[in-house]
Subunit: 377 residues, 2 copies
Amino acid sequence: MKVLHTADWHIGKKLHGYDLLPDQAYILDQIKKIAKDEAVDAIVIAGDLYDRSVPSEDSVRLLNQTIADWNLTEQFPLLAISGNHDSATRLATGAPWFNQTNFHLHTRLQEAFTPIEMKDTQFFLLPYFEPVDARIYFEDPDLRTIQAAMPKVIAKIQESFDPKKKHVLVSHFFVAGSSKTDSETKIEVGGLDGINGDLLKDFDYVALGHLHGKDALKMENARYSGSPLKYSLSEKDQTKGVWIVETETGEFSFRELSPLHEIQELQTSFEKLLTPAFYSTINREDYLSILLEDRAVIPNLMNQLRQVYPRIIQVERANGFETAVETRLKTENIKEKSPISLTEDFFTEVSQNELTPQQKSWIEEGLHTILKKGGEN
Amino acid sequence: MKVLHTADWHIGKKLHGYDLLPDQAYILDQIKKIAKDEAVDAIVIAGDLYDRSVPSEDSVRLLNQTIADWNLTEQFPLLAISGNHDSATRLATGAPWFNQTNFHLHTRLQEAFTPIEMKDTQFFLLPYFEPVDARIYFEDPDLRTIQAAMPKVIAKIQESFDPKKKHVLVSHFFVAGSSKTDSETKIEVGGLDGINGDLLKDFDYVALGHLHGKDALKMENARYSGSPLKYSLSEKDQTKGVWIVETETGEFSFRELSPLHEIQELQTSFEKLLTPAFYSTINREDYLSILLEDRAVIPNLMNQLRQVYPRIIQVERANGFETAVETRLKTENIKEKSPISLTEDFFTEVSQNELTPQQKSWIEEGLHTILKKGGEN
């Protein structure tokens, strides 16, 4: 049968403070279009549907609308698991009813051991779990890590293998040897090294979630789908999309997604950035990381840039600053200076200008008020 | 048909800091037993299933287990709405699938206008809504309050009346003239006076939620079910339970519930409270409000009482205090006293004892250290 494999939606995630919900709604719609164009028999979602265990109301609305549309309106069977970012308990709301329309959402370890059978394939939906879940399930106090638990989990799954069927594992873990990006959780999943890829060898396909790059792991029969959007600057050069898998042959191929807004890195001067001849050539709506070639301090920099570029995620200096502000302030003997002359020095360092007499008199007044108040206590 | 009417579960509510989840699980199980004993055709839940818009994971687990048990295992049709304590968006998770098994959960105003038909009855499930929802739905900017909106809402509902059927409204509002208790929300629902009871006259039964006493409103065809548990001290004398309604005849009668722990008020002396002959006669596991007859200050009072009574929700003095501590401390000229003599006075006031020489020397040492440190800054 033909399956679409996606994961790591992280609904509700923000990118440097920018709300990604419109981008996420847009990309989920594109995934649906691919599922329809490819006429897949099922859609696999391998965990981290939400970005947080307690998602915002707007995030809940987007996920609820998406799954109702895909499963009830479009009638795609859905095979989903909870990831480490999801609250298994919250995500499970409604799950006992979902089964009735071929929407299988597994959030607990023990659910992995009951295969979901569709056409020629058995699906084992193994959600993200904690070592304690394995200790309880197997009644084995020695299972202190996911690595220790996983051989038992996989062996238990294999007990249900029907040799006449294909076997697909849907899971959400770090497989040893995979490569990471910045937007994945920093907390290691169950240990330092991830689980051993050899454990996965008996499956016809392993649909993984957790890592955000589609090329994070290259095994013959296993892939991370990656996130459908770039969730950090370190993912800017990744190709995002979904896998289309033929379980009969074990073949899979990638379908690319085009985001509502790209992540772009720009390196140029401040002056050029504000020149129409320059900015008319680029997509100003993109999420931008700017490497500024200027070395001077530029007052009101961000506000000026945001007039032209509404989605700046960071600004850095390609060549450093003209004056090393911090170093000078540290090396001078600050304690011997008066408050007014410290303030003057600071202003000059940062703005490269002298205080006007009017500015100086305002500062003197302010300092006078502050210091007087301090003395009263 | 025969219907069980309950409301205001407030799953996750705490009573003076005590977690009520075990009490709630216990009482929900009792409601299920009544439904089975009475062999009702449906269970109506008139809003405030949760106590907060973002319930805890444990609360989510209890509600999810309860509705799955009642609807999927016991196969009771459920007719539910969101109340002002629920997040309509979060509560709606799964709702499009629930319908398949006769679980109708309405969380948006417009859903009230599609009747749910079962046997001889049309149910109109009108969730709690905000005036803005009515303004948008009716495209009428003048609907600034719930009172202003309600005549339009009821008229719209009545457009769908099938004259051959009985008509039941399920709703969650304050009806004018009802009486309140402390545990209901202090924020008025859409205005000061509540909605006009006359609007409800054409229904065969109105199953209300919002107020916590079953006797809060006494109309011929309308009742609040009240909360299934006492959620504040002011509810201690209320009888809690559910209504059993015959929609054919419009008759209804009450079935009482027995909580896991009662709320009790005790008035006696401290000495007696700690006497086995006294406390063996009462249920020490109850939630207790204690009116202490003693007038003396009792050191370590709460800790001593909690050794015997694990669920004290408040302690008050029946006859005030022996010495008016605050008054004396206020009227004396505090500023002229030394820190050590102020501390001595305070100790004597509160404990009714003099400081021992050892205690006094400890205090002197402490004060010395504090005052010395203060001088260094």
